[in-house]
């Protein structure tokens, strides 16, 4: 079972890597952000698979950590895109 889960994690890793590179070639920031989101989800999945495959339950905590931080890139990005920062600097 363990090697099958490893195989699944390799598969997920390769998939998201593929997606990542293809998207990073595009120049739009939104696409880059989606790539981060994709890799974030992929990373969480990989960690969960690894936790079970290598029987290291604390690894799930790492996945929780990643999941908690998953939205922050988007939050920072939107703050940038909405232009609020520029106004705030002017005051």
């Amino acid at each position: 079972m363990s090697s099958l889960l490893f195989a699944a994690s390799v598969f997920v890793l390769l998939t998201v890597a593929l997606g990542l590179f293809a998207i990073l070639r595009r120049s739009a920031d939104v696409d880059r952000l989606m790539a981060v989101q994709l890799l974030g989800t992929g990373g969480v999945a990989i960690l969960l698979l690894l936790a079970v495959a290598s029987e290291m339950p604390p690894v799930v905590d790492v996945a929780v950590m990643l999941a908690l931080f998953a939205a922050f890139a988007a939050v920072a990005f939107v703050r940038n895109a909405s232009g609020v920062s520029r106004e705030a600097r002017g005051e």
Binding site: M1, A8, F11, V12, G19, A28, A45, L48, V75
Partner: protein, 97 residues
Amino acid sequence: MSLVMDIWTICAVSAGALFFLAGTVGLLRFPDTLTRLHALTKVDNLGLGLITLGLLPQTSSLLLAVKLVIVWLLVQLSGAVVTQLVAGAIRQHGADG
């Protein structure tokens, strides 16, 4: 019993991994940003969801199982919010951000 569990795990994890592939391909092939966002959400809820469900029978304790579900819910939440935020940003400023 454990055989049934194992088969369930194999099926669900494989299906989840396939959704990752599908989502990624969607992200690559779909023409505009909003549809790509749509593909992305499939990865969040179905891809990760199926993997989580598949892993549940293999967990050693209840706490661990609960944590797995929490992880999934958290990713769902952040995925949903990120999609909203990005879509909103696109509506305001166009796809270049």
